[in-house]
Structure formats: C-alpha cells, structure tokens
C-alpha cells in the first residue's frame, strides 16, 4: 500500500476515510483544524460524497455526527480541547444513547497553550463520560488506531474519544496506508427507543454503559495498545502516555530502554496492566503529556504505596508540555550544558497583519471609549484578541467563545456604562447569538461590535457561517433597525466610525455595530486564486 507524508491531523483524516467514514463534522480550532481541511481537499471524499462542511460550533458538530451514527453510518467529529466543553452535553449523553454507526470524537489538546486559553486534558472527559479513549504516540499509530476505534465503537455501541496533542497534530511523518473499507449503508437502530433518554430508559442505558466500560478494558483491540516491555534494571520503571513515549526513547537514542516500560495508549485498562510493572519495580516514573491523570489514580488519596515520581512531586513540571530534556532530567540522566539565547533577542508576539480591518476598528473604538476611562471592553476568541497587546491595549477580557456579549450584559446589569462587547463574525454565530437574544429580551444597555472579516481568521481562513447573514440574524433576534449600524473599518472612515460608536454608546438599549471588511489574508488568497483561474 501507498506511503504518505502526513501531519498527525491528516493521518487521522486519511484513516477515517479509509475506514469507510461517511461524515466529518467540525468547527475550526488549533490544533485540530487540519483534520477537516484534509477531508475537504480529498478528491476521494468528494467523489464519495462524504459530508465535509464546517458546523456553527462544536456542539452542533457533535450532534450532527451523532445523527449520522444514528442513521447507521460511520462519523467523526473533531475539535480543539476547549471545543469539547462546548460539545460536552452532546458528548456525555452520546455515551448514554450509545451509537449505531461508529462514532469517533477527536479532541486535540494544546499543552503549553501555544494557541489556547488553557491546557485542559481531555482524558478526564473520557473517564467522565465513561467511553474508551485512544491516545496515539505517532502518526502511524494514529492511522491504525482509527480503524480499531471505529470497530470498538460499533462492537460496544459506544462513542470513542480520540485524544491527541499539539506535537502530534502538527508534526509530519510517513504513514503506511491500509486497505480501505467500504462505507456503511443507511440503517436505523434496531431498538427504536435506544436514543430516547427518558429517565426510565436512561436508567437502563446507564447500567449498560457501566458494564460496557468494564468489559472494554479486556478487549484485545484496546489492550493491544498498552504494551509492557521488561528491562534489566528494576530500580525504576516508567509509565508513558501518548507521545511521552517518543521522548523516553529519544533519551535512549532509539534503542530499547534497559528499564521496564509500560506504554499506555488506550483507556480504560485493567488493574493487571498496571500491576505488571508496579510489582516488578521499586519505584515508577510517570510521563504524561498533559495533566497527571494516571498519576493521581496510582497515588490515590493516601499516596502511601508505591514510590511514584511524576508531575505531582515536581520530578516533572506540573504544567506545560513535555520535551526530550524534561524527560531526560526526570530519568536522572546527566544534563549537558547548552548554548544560551543572547539577551538581545526580544520577544516577538503575534500581531495584526499589516492593513488588517480589526486594527482600524480598534483605533476607532479606542478613541470613542477614551472619555469613559479604562475597563469597558469585553472581547472574545479570535485574531482580534491580539488587541489586548500594545499598541492597542484595547480589550479587558477573553474567556471563551461568546463570552464578550454575555459578560457585557452582566457588567451592564451591575451598572458599568458603557458596556461594550467585541466579537468576530464566526465567533458570533458560534456562541454569541444566544447572548444577544438575552440582551434584547432584557433591553440591556450594551453595544455589541461584530468585527466581521467574513472568515474564521485565526485558524487560517475557513468559511464563516455568518458571511452575508449577520444583519439579518441581528434583526431576527430583535435588534432595532436604527441601532443596527454597519461601518467599514478603513482609515479614511475613522472619524465617521468614532461618531457611530459614540452615538450607540449613548443609547440605553441594545446596539449592534457591524464593522465589515474582509480579512486581508483571505482577500489576497481569493485574488490570487481568481488570477490563477483566469
């Protein structure tokens, strides 16, 4: 079979296509975005009619994928780790309904927060929902695991959580393809009530889930990924999770370590899986990319059994991603001195692209809000969050998707005036619309600026569900026409834009200002494509 050079994300996408997946669902989010983008670029997927359109948010994506599973076909939904918070309701309850066609939920975690607001570890969600979790350590393993994940999902009629981290998602390696499977035919569940979580049915389904979670531990398609290798020196054994395994091997120059190693890549696992190494070794080092998930279980509340080294005793830093050096130090290997970064090297934080419309919008906002002093602007998740940094220093919050609108409402309730929200177009349709409805119903004194660049910019310019619909959506929600203003954020319109903002700040009800100018990255890409197609 053919060998391909693929990112971890792309290996997952290719494997899903080769496993006969019929529908891919997602909302863009680093480091998960390339999964959907790979499917969208695949001619095979297009010819087969595989679903490949973006969803409004992770919850709608999750539920649509569950719907495809209900109809008997294999589906996958992908998101960044914080996206799973948005999708959590559907995700947790999909474990209760169970699935019909195989269903894989990919959560791409971002330890060290390269492009995220926290570094939550999605394995907790797997345990919480009581679904199996796969955590590959390489692109090839990710590819192969997807086949088994679909198999397990259908065998136990349960969704499977597929956890990856940034370094796997965005690292390229060669992947050997397997023989492709056919897509499944349309077929509704044999039990017509199995997706109806009325309490009486839910109680029955919960017992099934509890028992499946136990049985899955011993299934060979799960346990095969948890491999123990013995080594001569029993002073200290090592348990690794996911890509921590690679950093361990790196410290042994790719040779087999001379110490016992348990590589964990699938959950849940049996007691025996752990006992093999703990009974053999006087102490155990636990290397996890993310939170001390296994470590906390092994220590327990009393923490008075085995000698354990890991993130909780400081052998490994409590936060941040791992690397070969951290692992080497934890193993007690000698640390060699390295060159230092000269002090003249300065930080180079990300910033707005030259000519970005968000910048012109913030110039106007800063001038309009200045008379009221600092602390009035709630922002959201997207490129415009960069306005927190100088020279703009224009925003006072960035919490989660949609929180700008709702926080501005609460602050206005408390008496803050003016209370301003800044949100991007795609973030608005992701999670801002419901908050705006609250504001309209309550007649909150808020000004919501939708900085509309007609794309999902920060993740690289994916289609935005909002494009061409924003004014109609706001009107439909009930924003008064005279307080629904559209401005073009360009330097030449600066004075006029400041005036519009000042007017709307003064209005003691809901105003929406749509600042509309296409993302310059998307625009130049579009122009290049148009020129190439001439």
């Amino acid at each position: 079979m053919e060998k391909l050079l693929l990112l971890g994300d792309e290996a997952i996408a290719q494997a899903a296509l080769d496993s006969g997946m019929s529908g891919m669902y997602a909302y863009p989010g680093t480091p998960s975005t390339e999964i959907m983008e790979y499917i969208q670029a695949s001619s095979d997927a297009r010819e087969r009619g595989v679903h490949m359109m973006w969803s409004s948010n992770e919850k709608t994506a999750m539920e649509a994928a569950l719907g495809m599973s209900y109809a008997g076909k294999r589906a996958m939904v992908a998101m960044k780790h914080v996206g799973l918070n948005v999708a959590a309701d559907g995700f947790i309850n999909s474990a209760m309904t169970g699935v019909n066609g195989g269903l894989i939920v990919v959560a791409a975690d971002d330890p060290s927060m390269h492009s995220s607001q926290n570094e939550q570890d999605s394995r907790f969600y797997g345990k919480f929902a009581m679904v199996p979790v796969f955590e590959p350590s390489s692109q090839q393993e990710a590819y192969e695991m997807i086949f088994d994940a679909f198999h397990i999902s259908e065998k136990y009629r349960i969704p499977v959580l597929f956890r990856i981290t940034t370094r796997l998602a965005h690292s390229r390696a060669s992947v050997q393809r397997k023989k492709a499977l056919k897509e499944k035919p349309l077929s509704i569940p044999s039990d017509p009530m199995s997706f109806v979580l009325l309490p009486a049915i839910a109680r029955r389904k919960y017992k099934t889930l509890l028992s499946s979670y136990e049985t899955i531990k011993s299934d060979s398609k799960v346990s095969v990924y948890n491999q123990f290798t013995n080594g001569g020196n029993h002073e200290m054994g090592v348990i690794t999770c996911g890509i921590a395994y690679n950093y361990l091997l790196e410290n042994f120059n790719g040779k087999s370590p001379d110490i016992p190693v348990l590589k964990i890549a699938a959950y849940p696992f049996t007691k025996e899986t752990i006992r093999e190494i703990t009974s053999l070794c006087r102490s155990v080092l636990i290397l996890e990319e993310g939170a001390p998930f296994i470590e906390e279980y092994l220590r327990g509340i009393l923490d008075d059994g085995l000698r354990i080294y890991g993130r909780l005793d400081g052998t490994v830093p409590r936060d941040g991603e791992l690397n070969p050096a951290i692992v080497g130090k934890a193993l007690g290997l000698p640390v060699s001195s390295v060159r230092e970064v000269p002090s003249i090297v300065k930080m180079r934080p990300p910033s707005f692209c030259k000519g970005c419309g968000h910048g012109d919008m913030f110039d106007a906002l800063n001038e309009a809000i200045r008379p009221f002093g600092p602390g009035h602007v709630f922002a959201d998740i997207g490129c415009y969050t960069l306005a927190a940094l100088p020279p703009y220093s224009a925003i006072n919050s960035c919490v989660d998707m949609g929180a700008s609108v709702t926080m501005s409402i609460g602050a206005s309730d408390a008496g803050l005036f003016p209370s301003v929200a800044v949100i991007g177009d795609s973030t608005f349709t992701h999670s801002g619309m419901t908050g705006l409805l609250d504001a309209v119903v309550k007649k909150s004194a808020v000004t919501v600026i939708i900085s509309d660049n007609s794309t999902t910019g920060m993740t690289g310019g994916q289609d935005s569900q909002a494009t061409g619909r924003l004014a109609a959506i706001c009107e439909g929600i009930g924003v008064e026409t005279e307080h629904l203003r559209i401005i073009i954020p360009l330097k030449k319109n600066h004075d006029e834009n400041v005036k519009v903002m000042k007017e709307e700040f003064e209005y003691k009800g809901v105003s929406v200002i749509i600042a509309q100018r296409e993302c310059i990255q998307t625009a130049s890409r579009r122009k290049r494509n148009e020129a190439a197609n001439k």
């Binding site: 990112l7 390269h114 492009s115 390229r172 790719g254 000269p342 003249i344 300065k346 934080p349 910033s351």
Partner: protein, 191 residues
Amino acid sequence: MKNDIILSGVGGQGILSIAAAIGLAAVENGLFLKQSEVHGMSQRGGDVQSHLRISDKPISSDLIPYGFADLIISVEPMESLRYLPWLSEKGWLVTNSNPFINIPDYPSAEEIIAEIKKITNHLIIDADNIAKQSGSARSGNMVILGAASPYIDMDYESLQNAVKKLFGKKGTEIVEANLRALQSGRDATPM
C-alpha cells in the same frame, strides 16, 4: 546519517516551504522524517519555527533535543539566535541578513551580527538581494535553502527535484525562478 534541522523566521516568511522541500528530498532518498510545525496564533507576525529531523534510522521524538541540531536555517537574523540552545557544538547557523522589524525594541544590526559571529560555523547572506539579482525576488527562502544545502547530507540534485515537485503545480516559470534562487544561494556559499 542523521540531520536535525531547526528552521526559523517570522510568520508568513515561508519557512514551511523550506521544510517541505527538504522533506520531499528526504522521501526521495528513502529516509525517515519527522517535521514539527507551528500553526495557529503564532503565524500572525510572531516568531515561528519548525523542527525537521531526517535520518536513515527510525526517529523517536518529533522535537529535536537541546544541543542536537546540526543546522539552523533562518530567514531572519534575530530569529536565528532564538534557537541557539538547540544548536550542537559543531552545528552550522545559516541565516538571511535582512531583519524583519515589527517590534519596537528590535536590536541593532551590529548587535545581531556580533552575536551570530560568536558561533564558529556561521554563514550570513543577503538572501533578498541575491534573490532579486537572480530575477526571483520572491524566493528569498529558496536562496537560504540553497546556501544551507552543502550542510544537508543529501545530494543537491534531490533538493532540486524537491523544488520542482513543490512548485510544479504553479507552472514552469515559478519552478524555474525557485531553482535559480536555490542555485544562487548555493553559489553564495564558500565551498
């Protein structure tokens, strides 16, 4: 054979094209490869880097350990210094001399050059100017790759083939411009 390479620059300067070219050449030579990239937030004018590892044996870590890099290839001079902890004792630093200034406290050119010269094995070239002279002004990144090519343990021909493959879809003119840039970078390297 093992080459651990750090590629560095500022978001939008095209370091991923350099990585892709070396990657394609590695595949042509039947080598193992791991290449870690930065996507997302940092791409907006921030510092970006890529860890590229090629070897005739399987590679474990996607990240290069400190002190292991055989080569730093940088399209921006200050960025070349940011990754010195990765550079091995005998490693080479090949960088463009043209600064990309988008921060207020950017150091002076003299300070940067002085720091680079402290590295025994260094090569500073004016890639943008060389690209212009070779008639392919937009291919500064391929000039840098050409300049670094003597320090990569693969035939120059396989890099040329990779450039042909990488830009093939964009037409003969663009392929030729990039090949010229690659060659002029290589010619700028004292052999």
